[in-house]
Symmetry: C3
Subunit: 204 residues, 3 copies
Amino acid sequence: MNKFYLDIIETGGTIAFGLSGAFMAMEKRLDPFGVIIITFVTAIGGGTVRDMLIGKTPVTWLQDNSTALIILGTAIAALLFGKYLKQLSKTMFFFDSLGLGLFTVVGIEKGQEAGLSSLICIALGTTTGCFGGVLRDVLLNNIPLIFRKEIYASACIAGGILYFGLLQTGILVEYITTITIVFIVLIRVFAVRYKISLPASYNK
Amino acid sequence: MNKFYLDIIETGGTIAFGLSGAFMAMEKRLDPFGVIIITFVTAIGGGTVRDMLIGKTPVTWLQDNSTALIILGTAIAALLFGKYLKQLSKTMFFFDSLGLGLFTVVGIEKGQEAGLSSLICIALGTTTGCFGGVLRDVLLNNIPLIFRKEIYASACIAGGILYFGLLQTGILVEYITTITIVFIVLIRVFAVRYKISLPASYNK
Amino acid sequence: MNKFYLDIIETGGTIAFGLSGAFMAMEKRLDPFGVIIITFVTAIGGGTVRDMLIGKTPVTWLQDNSTALIILGTAIAALLFGKYLKQLSKTMFFFDSLGLGLFTVVGIEKGQEAGLSSLICIALGTTTGCFGGVLRDVLLNNIPLIFRKEIYASACIAGGILYFGLLQTGILVEYITTITIVFIVLIRVFAVRYKISLPASYNK
């Protein structure tokens, strides 16, 4: 996939993830600094946990200013223009889904670079896609949303299985990456449009 | 200690720790994916925090599939057969105690390999034994159980002190390991049978 | 700055941070072991997260016994003499502020040693100063205090900006360190004396 498009999607995903944190922090009426922290944690949490598990340190977002500046800008925009940004919820949902797909694939590929097995790579991809939201919810004192609602982590896992399935066929990795991202986005779109979610577990 | 017995105890401990997470997640009515995540975090949380503190990365469970598959199987079994497994609560308690003993000793020995002091090794052993449960409770939005109930971490600490005491005597490390594990199991059994717990602290 | 003074301030900061954890744990009526854990996490949490992000492992407090012993003593003192220690709240506030200033500067300097940018160093300094309190609040099932109350993290950020501003002037680093710490302490003192805090954010 073209580096330029990848950068746009990653930036869009970071912004969408960050905004979901900023809005939730504002609903809990945190002060502006609290909003900035939650924006940060939501946007970089998944990749940070992944990097610390693998031992790839300093973790990615420490290595240059661009991610930090994008997130800072996102938080400030949410604080100033929250009302207007919320009207863009469809755009946000689109980028959030794209971000989820891209972050999952990035996590899988970092796992492969570290020489880990397919199963573990899928776990790392899911961690990258989902743990930012988990940390956001823990800091805001909620049970993580992804444990309770909608197909979310399940989309990462399904995408990961597809990725390694396609890898067996000898298709170029660039294509596999694209197909996996599109697949994850489509699962999300269908799940949200048709309100599909996993049933709650019972302790019969 | 015989490698084969160690493997059985470690597997039993992982399953028992995982089940405690799965059952608590099901009580909170998480969806199946949430149950799987909580099962994972409870079973590998302590060792993961320990490995990240020492810098032994990629952390242990990333390095092959066996731990991940055991935990996945545990979560699925809990989801399907929860009602029946709960009737095995005595077996579960036995493995949970054995797991606590073994995980504590593993943590101590990893600390020694990293050249750390006895005091710090005891802290790492306690972390290995207890932090899976702490993370489980944080994710499920409870104050960690071990801070409030029963002799649990205290058993790890007492075991750790015994371990280093015996080390002074020149007894073979294999024997010390076994004695420490048995000692931790016995403390747990007595504490639970006689409902012994530490008193709550007051802020007079 | 003189090594001896630095050691006194760092020890004082560790004790003050630890006590804030111990008191809050006692208010929640944890058992003594729970109080010790929360004391530990509050005192070393910020530096531990920083070290794990940078990959400087084993993390600092593992490398010798002194920090662990100081914190253990702090927790035991809180449990035994809580009533009397609370009367020292002004002394505690002074050390807490000094600790915040010192921990921030230590975080900045560790970031520089790792070759990271100024912006990222300020983020690491703020993490070092504040994340112990964040982890304390997460474990005790509260929304972190610093997201809701008083100028706290803001003081770290302002101090970090001053630090790098002064670095441009060619002043000796020893002086810059001292000035930054004093500046952070003064911000805290003014904020608390005049009850200055950031306004809550609204999601208009």
